[in-house]
Every structure is written in structure tokens, then in C-alpha cells.
């Protein structure tokens, strides 16, 4: 099993100071996770829960405040930018905004050719040929290599981002909300493309999204984030069918259902209050001020992320009083 581990994050934290020496925003606060070769780990959570910051920590685009990241058996936590350069060939990222992540002043061919240029892999005509192969592979017309990003639609631009990310055949791609900015029909196309590429190239993905149905569709395992921490992680199917953390249960019950009859009968967990400030998170369990099941213990003792009760070792929940049925959370 350990040979299978591609990326391991241990107790990763990222704090942003509000002022010098002042209070800090704890965007990510003690996240541990593993990604295995060839799998997709879904990462869900509300806006502002620290998903994107975690993505930037995992790819070492920012320095960590605490914790370690081991990628392909190598500790990359403290590598300098120069030392990281070879690691980047195996560790890539796809960004959320297909408009912001492509330089508007450069031709698409040179954007997709960037990985080859930076790592000195291919030059001149060889590079152009490989760029055109990539464009063809992701479903773009290879003849459009000397167009500018502004001449492509959102979905096509995201394909450009995908082509750039897979150019060097990486082992892991961190996808930060890759389809959130796209129309639903285009989302499906891009997701299918990512799916095909995974089969073809044996890629592993960390797939970040706030869209529960998209994550369910693409992920092998899912981790749920709340206020900078992972509250529950499990194989996708199990998490969706048998959520153990009250937050996960509430999140799932809030997801829209296409069938109106079913939607009427369904029991929704209504959370009260707002997400607390990450500057001064609640004591004990961070979810306790909003949790229908919270008890005195929850306010003092932070629950560890472990297998609860009779759960399998792959289903970890950070809750003292895990949920058995959604009914427990709905007031009568």
C-alpha cells in the first residue's frame, strides 16, 4: 500500500497574517491526506473553507506555515523554487478561471509549449508538433495554435489549461475547481476529457469543487473540508450513502435533487448561523456552534479524524458523536 502512495500531506497549515504581528487567518489548519497513484481524491467544501489554499500548498505554490508534503517518496516541503523545478514535471495544476489562467498576450501554441520550453524538452518544429498533438488530444483544432486565448470559448480555454498540464505526462494534477466557471454541458465535456486522460496516462487527480454531484461522479475517494480542516473522508460511494459527520450530512441534504417528488419528501438539515471566522475559530470541534448534535464535550475537545464505531479503516470522521441517520439532525 505504501508504494502506492503518491502524495502525502501531514498536518499542513497555512496562516495569512492580517497585519504584521497581528491575528492570522487560518485558511488551512492541520490537514492530513494521502493520494494514491491513479486515483481521484475529491475535495469538497463551502466557499472560503480553504480548498484553494490547500491546493496551492499541495503544489508548493505557497510556503506552508506548518506540516510536511511528501511527493513520490520525496519530502518537498522545504525545497526552493529552483529545487522544485524538476518535481513540477510530475506535479501539475489546473486552475479555476479559464480566463485568468492563460496569458492574454500570448498565442495558444506558445502557452501550451511552455512546459516543453521551461524544462528544455523539445525545441522548434518538434515542440510545435507536440503542441499540436496535445491540442488534438484535448479536442482542440491543432490549426488554431497561433490564435490568442481571447478567441476561444470558456470550455476551449479550459482544454488549453488541460493540455498545458498534461504536456509533460505528470503523475498528479491538482484541479482547483476546473469546471466551476463553465456551463453545465461544457462541464460534462471537460470532466469526460479528464476521465479519459486518467485512463490513458494513469494520472492521479486531486479534484477540488463545491459541486457535490460533480465530485461524486469523478472521485474514488472524497474528503470534506470545513473551516480549514478535513472533517470526513471516505470512498465516494460510502460517503454519499452513509455520511457520518453532521456537516457532511447537512451538505448532502442541501444538494438539489432533480426529481421534484423526491425533493418534497426529502428531509433537509437546516444549519443555523454562519461559518465562523477563520481568524478566531471555535474551540473544540470547529463545527459545534452550528451542529444539531453538539454536546458539552464538543466545545472543549477537538475530535480526531479516525474511523468511528464499526466503520471501515478507510472511512474517517472527525466527530465525537457520528451520525447514523439524517433524522437525528432534523428537529421534530
Amino acid at each position: 500500500m505504501t508504494e502506492d502512495v503518491l502524495l502525502q500531506a501531514g498536518d499542513v497549515a497555512k496562516y495569512f497574517p492580517l497585519r504584521q504581528r497581528g491575528p492570522q487567518v487560518r485558511a488551512v489548519d492541520g490537514v492530513s491526506l494521502t493520494v494514491h497513484r491513479g486515483e481521484t481524491l475529491g475535495l469538497v467544501g463551502e466557499t472560503g473553507c480553504g480548498k484553494s489554499t490547500l491546493a496551492r500548498c499541495l503544489t508548493r505554490l505557497t510556503d506552508l506555515s506548518r506540516g510536511t508534503i511528501v511527493f513520490a517518496g520525496r519530502d518537498i516541503t522545504r525545497l526552493s523554487r529552483h529545487q522544485l523545478a524538476p518535481v513540477r514535471r510530475d506535479l501539475q495544476m489546473i486552475f479555476q478561471d479559464p480566463y485568468g489562467s492563460l496569458n492574454p498576450r500570448r498565442r495558444v501554441g506558445s502557452i501550451i509549449g511552455d512546459p516543453f520550453a521551461i524544462h528544455g524538452v523539445a525545441e522548434g518544429r518538434d515542440r510545435q508538433r507536440r503542441v499540436q498533438e496535445l491540442m488534438d488530444r484535448v479536442g482542440l483544432n491543432p490549426e488554431h495554435f497561433n490564435r490568442y486565448p481571447a478567441e476561444f470559448s470558456g470550455g476551449q480555454r479550459q482544454r488549453i489549461g488541460v493540455a498545458r498540464a498534461i504536456a509533460l505526462r505528470p503523475k498528479l494534477i491538482v484541479c482547483d475547481e476546473p469546471v466551476s466557471a463553465l456551463d453545465v454541458s461544457i462541464q460534462a465535456q471537460v470532466i469526460n476529457l479528464l476521465d479519459d486522460l486518467q485512463d490513458e496516462l494513469g494520472l492521479a487527480y486531486v479534484f477540488i469543487s463545491h459541486d457535490l454531484s460533480v465530485v461524486r461522479h469523478v472521485s474514488d475517494r472524497v474528503a470534506v473540508m470545513y473551516l480549514g480542516q478535513i472533517v470526513e473522508t471516505a470512498p465516494a460511494r460510502q460517503l454519499y450513502e452513509q455520511p457520518r459527520h453532521p456537516y457532511t450530512a447537512a451538505l448532502l441534504s442541501a444538494a438539489p435533487v432533480a426529481d421534484p417528488d423526491l425533493a418534497d419528501r426529502r428531509r433537509r438539515v437546516l444549519l443555523t448561523g454562519d461559518v465562523p471566522s477563520p481568524v478566531a475559530p471555535p474551540t473544540g470541534c470547529r463545527f459545534h456552534p452550528r451542529c444539531p448534535k453538539a454536546q458539552a464535550r464538543c466545545t472543549v475537545e477537538a475530535p480526531a479524524l479516525t474511523a468511528r464505531e464499526s466503520d471501515a479503516g478507510t472511512h474517517l470522521t472527525a466527530c465525537h458523536f457520528p451520525v447514523h441517520s439524517v433524522d437525528e439532525l432534523v428537529p421534530r
Binding site: 496551492r56 503544489t59 505554490l61 523554487r81 529552483h82 522544485l84 523545478a85 524538476p86 513540477r88 514535471r89 501539475q92 495544476m93 486552475f95 479555476q96 478561471d97 485568468g100 489562467s101 492563460l102 496569458n103 492574454p104 498576450r105 500570448r106 498565442r107 495558444v108 511552455d114 512546459p115 521551461i118 524544462h119 490549426e143 488554431h144 497561433n146 490564435r147 490568442y148 481571447a150 478567441e151 489549461g161 498545458r164
Partner: protein, 309 residues
């Protein structure tokens, strides 16, 4: 308005229209900008052809035509068919001197602007990209330069180095680059936070590569605009220095020293002050309006309007 579609369909191997070419297309439809560009072109031609014009007229810029160019009382003569713009107090042809003055004005204006822009871009990008201590030092230095009393500095420098074209160019460039540097720094600060910079970094690109490949191309628009707007400022700056006798040394004609000479005679010889002043006005106006047009053409807001047409 435009007859060609923004994105050509169904054509094989069509080259993308770069943002620059789109901007040029917009500029070409801006009548004021095109008239200004035409004026600038004429000025350049006049500057280049100055010896030819002098030859055709048969007058030299520094020769004193005491017989024909001065009245018996020794005063300048007004415009006539020998002296189109009249003569000055020494009997020299104002027309030919204005024509030759174009050379100095454009040369000093363009060269000092290019120097200032080059320096400003280098310092601005460095400050904005690296931030931290580098930025603090460079930004404060720019503030110091901007707060310098330029005329006092110019007087001091000229009294040490002696007036010449080279000194003028250096003084003008030194007092202009900081404004460019500030704008470029601000732009770099904002570009730096764009996602495509993070994307380049996630690919493993180094600082130098990011600065040249990702930051600089996005600075082209503001830098071009600022350059066209800086040229007229530099031209006026040069005229000011010459006017005060700290620029180009007489007898080389410049608009500045012509205006300076004319001050004692404008009551008897209006042409002496009018034509160099008019030349200065037309030149700065043309460059300024052209700069405005270029800015409008490169403005992303008008780009959106254009796309909706």
C-alpha cells in the same frame, strides 16, 4: 462598422489577430489620432529634410542676412517672399531656423523619452515583481526623484557640465523615468497576482522567464501610451532648458532659444515669437492627441465595445 469578422470561420491556417493588431485597426478609425499621426509624420519628414529645405530656399540657419534680412534701422523684417516667416534680430531666416529646430526638438524628445522609458520599465518591473525590500528601496528612490526641483537641478548640472545636447537629454531622461517606473511598478504589482503567473510558476518557470514572457507583454500597452505622452513633455522640457540658456548652445537653432531671443522684439516683430511658438504648440498637441488615441485604442473597455459591434 468593421466589415471583417473578428474571428474568421472555416478558414484553414488563419493567423490569430493579435491584441496589437486589433488596437491598430481601432486606431485607424480614430480620425483625430490619424490627423495627429499625419502631423507627426510631417514633422519627422521636415526634420529629416531640413538641409534639403534650406537648399531649396537658399538660406542657411545661422547666416545673418544683414542686407535683405534687416530694415535700414536694423530691425527684423516681416514675412515676405524671401523670408516666409520673416527674420530675427540678427537677420536670420526664421522659417529655416524653425525647420532646423524641429530636428533638435524631435531628437531630444524621442531619445530622452526612450532612455526614460527603458530605465523606468527596468526599475518598475524589478520593484513590482520582487516586492519586499527591493521594492521599498526602488519605490522610495523614485519618490525622491519625483520630488526633486528639476530646474534647480538642471541649473546646477549645467553649470558643472556645461550646456550641450547630451546634458539636456540626460537631464530630461533623469527627471522622466521615475514617472514611468511608478506606473510600470503598479501594473506589475497587479499582473503578478494574476492566475497565469501562478500557472507559469506551477510549470516551474523561473523569475527571469516570468518577467520577460508573462509580465512584459502585458506592459506593452501602458508603456506605449506613456511613451507617446512623454515625448511632448520632453520636447517642452528641452524648449524650457534652451529658453533658459541651459540646453542646446547657440547658434544651433532650437524653438526654445528662438523664443528666448524673441522676447525683446515681440512688440515690433510678432513673427519672431509666433512661428517657433506655433511649431511647439502643434508638435506637442499632435503627440498628445496621438497618445490619447493610442490609449483609447489599447483600452480593454473599448475592446469590449468593439467585440459587441
Amino acid at each position: 462598422m468593421s466589415t471583417t469578422p473578428l474571428v474568421a470561420r472555416g478558414e484553414r491556417g488563419i493567423a490569430g489577430r493579435s491584441p496589437f493588431r486589433l488596437a491598430m485597426a481601432r486606431l485607424r478609425r480614430d480620425r483625430v489620432a490619424m490627423v495627429s499621426a499625419g502631423t507627426v509624420l510631417v514633422l519627422v519628414l521636415v526634420a529629416l529634410a531640413a538641409p534639403l529645405i534650406a537648399h531649396l530656399v537658399g538660406h542657411d540657419p545661422s547666416t545673418q542676412y544683414r542686407e535683405t534680412g534687416l530694415t535700414p534701422a536694423g530691425l527684423p523684417v516681416g514675412p515676405n517672399r524671401h523670408f516666409l516667416f520673416g527674420t530675427d534680430n540678427l537677420g536670420r531666416d526664421v522659417f529655416i531656423r524653425v525647420v532646423y529646430g524641429t530636428r533638435i526638438s524631435l531628437l531630444v524628445g524621442v531619445v530622452s523619452t526612450l532612455l526614460a522609458v527603458a530605465l523606468g520599465v527596468v526599475v518598475g518591473v524589478t520593484a513590482g515583481y520582487f516586492q519586499g525590500a527591493t521594492d521599498t528601496v526602488l519605490a522610495r528612490f523614485m519618490d525622491v526623484v519625483l520630488s526633486f526641483p528639476f530646474l534647480l537641478f538642471a541649473i546646477a548640472l549645467v553649470s558643472v557640465a556645461g550646456p550641450s545636447i547630451v546634458v539636456s537629454v540626460c537631464v530630461i531622461a533623469f527627471f522622466s523615468w521615475a514617472a514611468v517606473g511608478r506606473i510600470v511598478r503598479g501594473q506589475t504589482l497587479s499582473i503578478r497576482e494574476r492566475e497565469y503567473i501562478a500557472a507559469a510558476r506551477s510549470l516551474g518557470a523561473g523569475d527571469i522567464r516570468i518577467m520577460f514572457v508573462d509580465v512584459l507583454p502585458n506592459l506593452v500597452a501602458p508603456v506605449i501610451v506613456y511613451t507617446t505622452l512623454l515625448i511632448p513633455t520632453a520636447i517642452v522640457f528641452e524648449a524650457t532648458l534652451s529658453f533658459l540658456g541651459m540646453g542646446v548652445v547657440p547658434p544651433t537653432p532650437t524653438w526654445g532659444n528662438m523664443l528666448s531671443d524673441s522676447l525683446q522684439y515681440y512688440q515690433v516683430a510678432w513673427w519672431f515669437i509666433l512661428f517657433p511658438g506655433l511649431a511647439l504648440l502643434i508638435t506637442t498637441l499632435a503627440f498628445n492627441l496621438l497618445g490619447d488615441g493610442v490609449r483609447d485604442a489599447l483600452d480593454p473597455a473599448t475592446e469590449r465595445l468593439f467585440a459587441e459591434e
